[in-house]
Symmetry: C2
Subunit: 577 residues, 2 copies
């Protein structure tokens, strides 16, 4: 019981020196790697850069205690930072105390919601974000992030927050761009892109081992941060107009509960819910993928509690909403982390940096961070997946398209919500017009197949109708229409057998329709039978009067129905096709 | 083509004398019967009584031209009147010109929406109101109507509109009730209830023919109206405080378009949509039921157009929202109506009454109408159906219960919307945790059954997993979990066969999960196969790379998979249960 709520107890007792040294090494690597990223995501959310560091401390520690994934690294992540920035900009001006306060309230609400969902075991709601909707959303978010950083990268000041006005503002501002900022930004951008594409193979070619080449490739952002910071400091580029982070407070984050303001809390409720769900879905998908690789399992409900705790921790330590981050988790995993202890080591490392080294960041150009964000966000835009979805299913594609479109031109909320609603609507629409087939016997066998696709034996007074869907309110009337049309078109019919091999549920509406069908067929002198009714469906039917009222019988198999009904009344009329 | 949009053309050319005399008789009977009802429903909606007559004229004629049901009678109906009253009371004060104006706008919007839905062929949306939700709503509406009339019936003035405050006000007002009103109201109520229960058998016992007894029983309200009106006039009860209809304008309704007021139109948009859908669902269910009895068909999409036209007609003739009414339709049907011509005759009859006889209605007590409404609304409350639904399915029952509860204590909109949302949510939740079963071979047959329910043959290196649900985003992850658990618990597994006989759809999310399952099983040295994939699902899969990547094969039948895989690798390990 205690182990379920404190998963740390499952691995800590077996902890040993070998695991320890692997975790310490991984933790140190993560420390160095994620500092630039944490700063960058805080800037993306419109918050002071140091908030990104704060949000990588206590939240990570809390997740170590409560989370079930052994390698997931929790902290600020791109998508959540983007969503946070979009929500807060509606409520306060970036840079003000209210803005920061609203970020803390957002973390707090998100933490409470995740904890509640975890306790209510509501991990299943993640399932309602379909792959096309998530994929579409991530691609659109990638575009939004790139657009949000374009100004920083080129040294053009942009004020509008929506995509299209922003782009036109960017085009108008291009002539007045800041050349030195452009140089730093585009230089870093090209360098990082180059490292990502060719770094590994180039380093291996000049003699690095594969793992060293991997490490150095990933250290690209760290290298860029150091070089551009030194250059900016040395040539005093800040006074020449290059935007830098500026003085960063030294020391650990201040503790405190976010203030209570009813209308503010109310305004942040829905955004917090959406941020919670998106963060959870991203985090748990990644956690599941990595756990699968090592034959481990994670518990979605406990993950909700872990992420909830992490967000509460962020709220009381001047942080921002956090989640399991793709980049930091991959770094952690690849650096050989064995247990969450690596996360603890990284948190201590980042804490030390926050205590002593923040003054070094004063000259770090914003353009460098913008380039870092832009390069890593490009990977979110997945054209291949969009093309595949188009090929596979127009209806999945349309849910993806509406998500992308509305995320880009309206808002993240509108994009995700309409994607989910459309996915559900399309699924219901499809199930509301189920496929059904008249089947006939494959000659001299016990098998029955669609008479339109196979050469089968049929009997004119007997219709074997297979319904390929659960029967429920959305298709109950359709079922009635199908049967009535069948009976109207074949006046010689004496028996209709509904084959229920694909019927996994008959709800109260469908039961009423079956009652109506039974009554109407009886009036026309046709007997209604069922065949291949599944156990659970049959158990349910026994709680109604339908089986007593039904004119015909329930057959175990279609063949049993055939044997009984095909020969009973009309031995002679059998016609072979 | 013209016939599709003007169904009158399908029957008018074949019209003959026999049909004509049946229709004229039915139309005259309907004229007399529905006048009290039409007045009553207008009062229920908070409108002048004469509006009920206006709404029975042109709307009925338009439906005759456009509707596909031969016997449906269109006019004011209880549920729609209740909804209209609830909506309008939020917007204006009953009795004012704005109130009447809002009713016309409501009809107009509802007409436009129904027409649009009809043209877009959206008749299918009616399917999303499940039987339990409609049934629950009708029962709750019955309670609301009875409560709304209690004041008129007892002669107590009530001001609150919500159920509970209304009831407490009624209790407080009881000591000051108006005795003469109570006498008329309760007398009419008891008389009508008695007629409904025992009228027919009593009249037959005293020598009436069955059809005359039927007719006289139905004429109960007409009789009550005549008697109480005469009594009120003769004894001058109105000046003693009995509320009467008062002077009713004589002549046909004034023509005119409803005024345009943007904010008012906007406020009425959602209510109009809901009224349209509820009216359509009620009307089309009834139409289908009656059409089925006579082996006729109705077209839901054309019904939308017919009802839309009727509501537009109501909007321009000082009417109120209309729909196909249960009582008036049953009267029409039982009176022997053969074609919509009967509706035309009734409209002419009511028009004549409106032209010449409305002064006779001045002394009609409101209490009489209240008693009429109350008695016919009691039939809406269907305890038996509530009990049956509880027995059959807790989840259907919960959708019904929330509909009833919220309709009673909050609003009709809240009741219906939450019922629909909950129905859909519960369906999705059920399909998100599909039933699945490991199956084994029934010894010496080609049949396979759940190993937990039947004595079957199994092989330890082969798992045959039957999934009893379409695979889509809501259960994709659940499928992964099921397969991973299976593989983790049986290390000797070499082959997993997913039996897809109940899988009617594999969406993009589920396809990704199958990809993930395939990759993970490959890593564990287990081969993934599919069996009994349906034609449409297979066609879709061919548009993806999955079939190329899959480690195993697609078998036509489970038996084919068994023959191939059970013997291939491990002939010796077969164990019989």
């Amino acid at each position: 019981m205690l182990k379920r709520y404190l998963p740390i107890l499952t691995w800590l007792p077996h902890y040993n020196r070998r695991l320890g040294s692997a975790d310490v090494l991984a933790g140190l690597i993560v420390t160095v790697m994620v500092i630039p990223q944490s700063l960058a995501y805080a800037v993306l959310a419109g918050l002071p850069a140091v908030v990104g560091l704060y949000a990588s401390l206590l939240p990570a520690v809390v997740y170590v205690l409560l989370g079930t994934s052994r390698t997931l690294a929790v902290g600020p992540v791109a998508i959540i930072a983007l969503m946070t920035g979009a929500v807060l900009a509606d409520i306060a001006t970036p840079g003000t105390a209210e803005y920061l306060q609203a970020a803390l309230i957002l973390s707090f609400l998100s933490g409470i919601m995740l904890l509640l969902m975890g306790m209510l075991r509501m991990g299943f709601i993640a399932n309602f974000l379909s792959h096309p909707v998530i994929g579409g959303f991530l691609s659109a978010a990638g575009v939004l992030i790139v657009a949000s950083q374009a100004g920083h990268l080129l040294g053009v000041e942009l004020n509008s927050r929506e995509l299209l006005p922003r782009l036109s503002e960017l085009a108008q501002g291009l002539p007045s761009l800041h050349l030195m900022t452009l140089t730093i930004g585009s230089g870093t951008f090209v360098f990082l892109l180059f490292m990502r594409r060719y770094g590994r193979s180039m380093l291996q070619r000049i003699g690095c081992s594969k793992s060293l080449a991997d490490l150095l490739t990933r250290a690209g952002p760290v290298f860029a941060v150091i070089v551009t910071t030194l250059a900016t400091w040395h040539f005093d580029l800040a006074s020449g107009g290059v935007a830098v982070i500026g003085s960063v407070p030294q020391g650990l984050p201040p503790l405190g509960l976010p203030g209570f303001d009813f209308s503010l809390w109310q305004a942040l409720l829905i955004p917090a819910l959406l941020i919670s769900i998106v963060g959870f879905v991203e985090s748990v998908s990644m956690g599941q993928m990595l756990a699968a690789r090592r034959r481990e399992r994670i518990s979605p409900n406990q993950e909700l509690i872990g992420l909830g705790g992490a967000n509460l921790a962020a709220a009381i330590t001047s942080g921002m909403p956090v989640s399991g981050g793709l980049t930091r988790t991959v770094i952690n995993y690849d650096a050989g982390a064995q247990t969450p202890m690596a996360g603890l080591v990284a948190a201590i490392g980042i804490g030390t940096a926050t205590l002593f080294f923040t003054p070094l960041l004063a000259y770090l150009p914003i353009a460098t961070l913008a380039a870092t964000i832009t390069v890593s966000s490009l990977t979110l835009i997945d054209i291949g997946m969009i093309r595949q979805t188009w090929r596979y299913s127009r209806s999945d594609f349309s849910a993806m398209a509406i998500t992308i479109l509305l995320t880009l031109v309206d808002s993240i909320e509108a994009g995700i919500v309409s994607g989910v609603v459309l996915s559900i609507g399309l699924f219901l629409y499809r199930t509301s017009r189920p496929h059904s087939a008249l089947v006939g016997r494959i000659p001299d066998s016990e098998h029955f197949r669609n008479i339109e696709r196979h050469a089968t034996e049929t009997v004119s007074h007997l219709a074997l109708l297979r319904i390929d869907e659960s029967l429920y309110f959305a298709n109950a009337r359709y079922l009635e229409d199908t049967v009535y049309d069948l009976v109207a078109s074949r006046p010689e019919l004496e028996h209709v057998v509904l084959i229920c091999s694909a019927v996994n549920l008959i709800d109260a509406s469908a039961l009423e329709s079956l009652d109506a069908i039974n009554a109407r067929l009886r009036d026309s002198g046709v007997t209604l039978h069922l065949a291949e009714v599944k156990g659970p469906v049959m158990d349910r039917l026994k709680h109604s009067d339908f089986l007593d009222d039904m004119t015909g019988r329930v057959f175990l198999s279609t063949y049993a129905a055939w044997r009984e009904l095909a020969q009973a009344t009309a031995d002679l009329s059998t016609d072979r096709i």
